[in-house]
Symmetry: C2
Subunit: 252 residues, 2 copies
């Protein structure tokens, strides 16, 4: 099973193959602006030497980045860093790399906006399409979030599982594809402040999530949408407060 940004950030970066290492370093360098948008990055030979890998490996890494829309190669010209609006921001790796520079409030705000657009809709669709099995599964996950023994990490994971389950229950494959975005948001929230800090916070979170399942179970589209909106709004508010406390960006 592939590790998402959440597990990856917590357990440490995956450094199995030299290919993935190069991809990682180059990707982060581009995202961070070390290689600014529009510029040509060093040639194959040069980069291969810098990373101490063969040109083969370097080129495969470039193809990986190109596939995500970060760079575009042209013969004789070189390989250019593409404009930001061409990057596939829903790519799990790209999201992860964004957080390696530090946590940017604007970025988290943008993610919250997207979640606000997406997840209430997904909840409404789930109210239409969810099977009974899916509903009881979601309910179990929502209840599990209330376990007072949760650490910030385990709560974040439980949170993620729930939201992915809702996306799955919406029966729309695109909703599930937003999963990596949800992960990124939870990573950000998790690193800033966790409701697992106090028992009350945990109970609140769990209750709010249970409410979503109840609405879905009643097949109440509008109710499910509203309940989901509450959850996202709370998460966003938590980010805001935390950012005010720590106006500096937090190192990744």
């Amino acid at each position: 099973m592939k590790k998402g940004p959440l597990e990856t950030l917590i357990t440490g970066v995956d450094t199995r193959t030299s290919h993935s290492q190069v991809v990682d370093v180059l990707g982060r360098a581009i995202i961070s602006g070390e290689f600014p948008v529009g510029t040509i990055l060093p040639g194959d030979q040069d980069l291969a030497m810098r990373f101490k890998v063969s040109r083969t490996v370097l080129r495969e890494a470039m193809k990986t980045l190109a596939a995500k829309g970060l760079i575009v190669p042209r013969a004789r010209i070189g390989t250019r860093v593409t404009a930001r609006n061409q990057w596939n921001l829903f790519d799990s790796d790209i999201l992860t790399w964004h957080f390696h520079n530090g946590i940017d409030e604007d970025f988290l705000t943008h993610i919250s906006e997207v979640r606000m657009a997406f997840e209430p809709h997904a909840a409404a669709l789930a109210a239409i399409h969810a099977t009974e099995a899916e509903i009881s599964h979601m309910m179990r996950l929502a209840v599990a979030m209330g376990d007072p023994a949760h650490t910030p990490e385990s709560l974040a994971v439980a949170d993620l599982r729930f939201h992915l389950a809702v996306a799955e229950a919406s029966a729309n494959p695109f909703m599930r594809s937003v999963g990596s975005l949800i992960e990124a948001a939870l990573v950000g929230i998790f690193k800033l402040s966790s409701p697992a800090a106090d028992r009350e916070g945990i109970e609140d979170v769990s209750r709010n999530h249970i409410r979503i399942v109840e609405q879905i179970s009643r097949r109440d589209e509008a109710g499910a949408r509203a309940a989901m909106e509450v959850v996202i709004r709370v998460g966003r508010a938590r980010v805001r407060v935390a950012m005010d406390d720590v106006p500096q960006t937090v190192a990744g």
Copy 2:
């Protein structure tokens, strides 16, 4: 400038490099289920021979597909086709490949649902953040859609430009990333039936789009959201009608 699915589908597939050809054929084969999910696809050597390319090129193509989440390689095991819910459906290529098998009503319905979740929100954000320059730009694009000389192709392109401009004006980079999705939707609609067929249709479309800009210009979030919802609903209805006329899938 990179060609999106719309131009690509209209002008013909891009077959510059042998790399992109291999990526294209393999990608389509995977999406279409020719290589079913969960199965191991043939080894490097084998595939390289089939495509009559070197192993270098084949492997770079594999890295491209892996970067999009379609496959995952494991030493000694082989390269496995990943589960559908791990594919990055917002990737422009993956969307394009979906339409090469034929137009699937469910798929278009899912895209419409996502647009319905996304674009009204983007319009509302644009009502907050759009600059005067962006507003007049959007207005020009909306008006340009009313040109009675439009062919189905040119109308689809104008349509796309408008929706991308709105996404851009939302000042949220994620909204812009949904551009490839919008393209895919327009390709689908365009291939089924075009409002450019009659002058009335063109005027209708243009008027509806102008209304969006008017609401944005008035900084009316709710109004902009509602106006955008109308446009998407109309597009979806057109798909439904066309699908009823032609219940068979249409060859890509």
